[in-house]
């Protein structure tokens, strides 16, 4: 039998999909807990979203509408590459509109447009283990989760406060899920963390290289780790407004205007920004 190249719907054979599906169901049943799975090699490299991709390929059906974003934008090279692969192996319709999508795969952002119950968000995760920075060994972190021993995570935040006067974790600020598991929400900015709490949509997270799938079901309690006297705070977007659509309070990209040399801010969620501009009918 010669190598015919892949002929399966959604690239993977049914056995691979079944294994991912079994792991996904257990992940939904145990919110925030990382379920190990036999992560397959994908036609895109490890570290480029193979975990999220395997989730998408196991979930997707011919009637789905797919949106893929990377760092907030649909047009980034990574997002386009993933979208191409999924479309080539499924023929599903793709969209840039968060409203129209049924399945959204994203690297490092949760869309600004609130998601609905009929939508599933798949987040790409580089390092699923929130305790990895305090403990490099998997056998130890497994035990820490088993014993609900999260002193390491709190210690990390405590040291930041001692050194800098406040927490300095950027993106991927750890969260506590249903008061049982500390979870790495993936490198989303802190402003996105609250979107996980009591959401309408199911959020699935996949780490291909580390071979873990985890989940936050809808209507689930998710709290960013903090201390009573040092409560969790999001990135300071005050005084910033999007140069194009005028929105404020959303996560923004900082751009140097080439001509004037001044710093301007643009919505990081480009499709949401576009929708605002088209809805308002204004031209800037």
């Amino acid at each position: 039998m010669t190598a015919q190249g892949n002929q399966h719907f959604a690239f993977l054979d049914e056995g691979s999909k079944r294994e991912i599906r079994r792991a996904t169901l257990k992940a939904i049943a145990i919110p925030g807990y990382q379920v190990p799975f036999a992560s397959r090699e994908m036609p895109i490299a490890r570290g480029w979203g193979t975990g999220g991709l395997q989730l998408t390929l196991a979930l997707i059906g011919p009637d789905d509408v797919l949106k893929v974003i990377d760092q907030g934008t649909d047009e980034s090279v990574n997002a386009v590459n993933i979208k191409k692969l999924v479309q080539a192996t499924t023929g599903v319709r793709a969209t840039e509109s968060t409203h129209d999508a049924t399945l959204i795969q994203s690297r490092h952002r949760i869309p600004d447009v609130p998601l609905r119950a009929d939508q599933i968000l798949v987040l790409q995760v580089p390092i699923p283990e929130p305790l990895r920075f305090v403990e490099p060994r998997e056998e130890v972190t497994r035990r820490l989760h088993a014993e609900r021993d999260y002193s390491g995570a709190y210690l990390m935040l405590f040291e930041q406060i001692m050194r800098h006067g406040h927490v300095t974790s950027g993106a991927d600020h750890p969260v506590m899920v249903e008061d049982r598991y500390v979870m790495a929400p993936s490198p989303i900015p802190r402003i996105d963390n609250p979107k996980l709490h009591q959401a309408e949509a199911l959020v699935l997270l996949g780490a291909g290289r580390e071979k873990k799938i985890y989940a936050v079901p809808p209507h689930t309690n998710v709290a960013s780790l903090d201390f009573e006297d040092y409560p969790f705070h999001v990135e300071d977007m005050s005084g910033r407004a999007c140069h194009q659509c005028g929105a404020d309070g959303v996560f923004m990209d900082e751009i140097q205007d080439e001509q004037t040399g001044e710093t301007v801010f643009l919505c990081n969620d480009t499709s949401a920004c576009l929708e605002r501009m088209n809805a308002s009918g204004d031209r800037i």
């Binding site: 049943a29 145990i30 499924t90 023929g91």
Partner: protein
């Protein structure tokens, strides 16, 4: 543009069944459709004298394969076990070892069957079993013969009610198995009219006639 793959019917069925299972576990207590008649229905296969209900068949086809183990108790345990094995290559195991347990209509010693199911370990809670239980009726509204059950927990905004008719008590044994979260197991209830309800271990469920808060 890209070459579109025409999706095979069994592949499409597994995918849509899986999406319903995802929805059912993510929103415990909602009733989802499962087991629409499709390519293979063992009830219409004259060579099989122990067919499975189409809901159970759907679950078997979607979730089981050579990498999983299962145990069955039903009105025709041996026949059903052989059917599942030959169709999926999944291996038969004792209930205390099995990944999947099928508590089908007419099965004996349901309570012991449930009691022996795996609940995982603190380091590997995901190894808790998945139990498929055939009941008489599942409905999102009151129906004659059904009893209201109230559910709270992740996936449920506030409280959700569900009406169930079953001829044996599956709920108390299930509740005993999930009392030490994160240890526990997952239950899929299926009825005779292709309905399914998913109960992850996080769901607190009580029949409404019980006194006492959830």
């Amino acid at each position: 543009m890209s070459s579109t793959s025409r999706i095979r019917e069994d592949v499409a069925r597994s995918q849509s069944t899986f999406r319903h299972l995802v929805n059912a576990l993510a929103r415990p207590g909602i009733v989802v459709p499962i087991g629409e008649p499709g390519l293979y229905d063992s009830r219409h296969d004259s060579s099989i004298d122990t067919p499975l209900s189409s809901s159970t068949q759907s679950l078997v086809d979607t979730l089981l394969d050579v990498e999983t183990t299962f145990a069955v108790t039903s009105s025709k345990t041996e026949g059903h076990a052989r059917l599942i094995r030959e169709r999926t290559y999944a291996r038969i195991a004792a209930p205390e070892e099995a990944d999947f347990l099928f508590l089908l209509r007419g099965g004996s010693s349901a309570e012991q069957f449930m009691e022996s199911a795996r609940i995982g370990t603190l380091e590997e809670p995901h190894r808790g079993a998945t139990v498929v239980i055939e009941v008489d009726e599942l409905a999102p509204v009151e129906k004659p013969g059904t009893l209201r059950h109230d559910l709270v927990g992740p996936g449920i905004a506030g409280l959700r009610s569900l009406w169930i008719a079953a001829d044996f008590d599956w709920c108390a044994p299930r509740n005993r198995k999930v009392v030490t979260y994160p240890l526990g197991l997952e239950v899929f209830l299926v009825d005779a009219t292709n309905n399914l309800v998913g109960l992850p271990r996080t769901t607190r469920i009580q029949p409404a006639s019980d006194t006492g808060a959830i």
